[in-house]
Symmetry: C2
Subunit: 421 residues, 2 copies
Amino acid sequence: MENQYETIWKELGLNLENHAGLLGVLSDAYTNIYMAQKNRPKGMEYFDFVVSEIHSLRIKEIYEAKESGRPIVGAFCIYVPEEIVLAVDGVCIGLCAGAEVGSEEAEKFIPRNTCALIKGFMGFKLSGLCPYVELTDLIVGETTCDGKKKAYEIFNEITKKVYVMEIPNMKSPKGRELWESEVIRFREKMEALSGKRITVEGLQKGMALVNAKRKALQRLSALRNADPAPISGLDALLVNQVSFYDDPARFTRMTNELCDELEERVKSGSGVAAKGAKRLLVSGSPMAIPNWKLHAIVEGSGAVIVGEEACIGERNFRDMSDENFATVEEAIAKMAGRYLSIDCACFTPNNERLDNINIMAGRLHADGVIHYSLQFCTPYMMEAFKVEKSVDRPFLKIETDYGMEDFGQLKTRVEAFLEII
Amino acid sequence: MENQYETIWKELGLNLENHAGLLGVLSDAYTNIYMAQKNRPKGMEYFDFVVSEIHSLRIKEIYEAKESGRPIVGAFCIYVPEEIVLAVDGVCIGLCAGAEVGSEEAEKFIPRNTCALIKGFMGFKLSGLCPYVELTDLIVGETTCDGKKKAYEIFNEITKKVYVMEIPNMKSPKGRELWESEVIRFREKMEALSGKRITVEGLQKGMALVNAKRKALQRLSALRNADPAPISGLDALLVNQVSFYDDPARFTRMTNELCDELEERVKSGSGVAAKGAKRLLVSGSPMAIPNWKLHAIVEGSGAVIVGEEACIGERNFRDMSDENFATVEEAIAKMAGRYLSIDCACFTPNNERLDNINIMAGRLHADGVIHYSLQFCTPYMMEAFKVEKSVDRPFLKIETDYGMEDFGQLKTRVEAFLEII
């Protein structure tokens, strides 16, 4: 099997030696962080397998999908409407951005003071370590922050396949109109890319797939209300991370199977932490795979993370797309509205997020909220001020990157926080 | 006289002791940097006077304007249409943001990793050192960068008078529509604030004032083409900085008088530097008063700065408003188009700027281009990559803040750059 994957990696132009090193580091980190957990649900075995095959089996699947003529679309943001990609039988995947890789290469193109996620996607590409980006026919960027907005221009010079959707800065009537026109433009782009017309049936199929995925993730989120928590924050985070890479139908089935098991746990009162263990909600910047740093610190200190108010988390699945439409135009208008309800810090103001954090913390019986920002992630770093003022329970603000230099310091801060709550 | 100003400062709630300290530091810096220059045009005496009275006579004028019922509007961006403020007989002023003041206070509200300009305006307000902000009836923000966009939300909690105009991220037809609707909304806001209707006559008056100011600044810019340069970069920068504070009619008159004198200099072949002195174009982030750091370093090293491709500089006056209109609606549509032609790095892409830099460098006979970014100013820091690739002459990239810690290091880099060109 190994040789088969190596053939693909070679064909995609990866740096085989460094890639082998990366997979080794990933595997070690996974063993240390994930496999060391106690009393994990059996349903996590599937996700362990997915991670072990993240650049292998899944890449082969996407490679074959591409060979069969399906368009491959990469993205870095939950504002990219996956329904439209699926409506032309495309594959929509998140691109590598969660590890400190190729920083030196990246800094030849972008400033040192750039958030780890952006440096990550530049670094992965420039050092030939992301098979996903090589398989894409189109990379869909957006204007959610200055860093990504401007880095996409450079990323396009490197890859020649970046397409940018404009997200407005305000949710005004004109902003909504602009965004809807962007969704229409994206529909046309996908039609041109695939050579297929987007039909009501195609959109129904795409929406059903994405909504089912969202519903499974909502189910998982709701099960985390229970005390004791039936699943660790680390494992739930991983499921959310995998939702951006996996085949949507299979992902939904396996997540629902996991949830069946978790329901049994809740009924029987068993869980991953002792009943009464301190429960935390994490809120802020996205955590792309394999960014497990904060969860590892918090859960390594005896608390349990019960929710992620983040793009890789609740913001991705809070709202369903309305499947009740008669025309493509109606579907797109409704879909545009659904996406614009996402409470991203790119909007000014973004007060819905303040409400959503308190609602979520209440539902999950969180004892405290940790606000997590990637360093140089200005929208979330700035919004933390308002979040701190509005959160109705103990609050800790953390700014960090992907490096491990501040691991000890963060652990000390988290432990001190756990002591006061 | 002193007592009269102190009465106003006290009434505005300034911190009198610290304010006296600030004026002392400003005066010392001005003496060291400006008064030490040789062969300055006589016309600069007016601008010396303006700086010496920047928190005194001008504040008294604005205070009296406010007392007489004229609305006072503060802004931090050249996208705020001054014509509309003037059309209701308002006063439009730039707010204090050019010095490292109150950083400790500011960092209670915004992240440490915020650009010096944003930290500056927060710091000036929080430490009670900006009489301008206290005199405003309205502070007009915009969405040109993540930092300002999100900081305005916090600034509004502090001042209760921030109004934000949305600038789109792209210059698409829908983006243009959105921006035009924002200019219309601003017109309504100014009508509500002033209790006056905006009329064709009012707009004609406002536009004539602003266009005359732009024309004077264009004239100044064109005179800097000459070798030897008839005016230093420091002095020309100051004139541009003062254009955001001064009474527009008086400013225009005094700038034109200065230009008359510079014309004589050009004719007689006299200037501030020797003929053949190295000529540099500075391009990038805005330099709010009293940010004279880069100009002081470059000109202290024997070169002369011949242009500022910046918001405090060329971008502010490159395009005139079209005074040929029959209705308010027509005027606003044309004005919106004029503003959207500004090549701010907030747009993606912003390729016009690349062309404009080369056109400007050519016209000014620049021997090299220095790209200047404030640290954490993501749009300009990121765009520097494309600028470097497209600039057709020697190029130096600088990132700095308002502090003096890197003065020596920057001087060494600038001198090394001057040696190779």
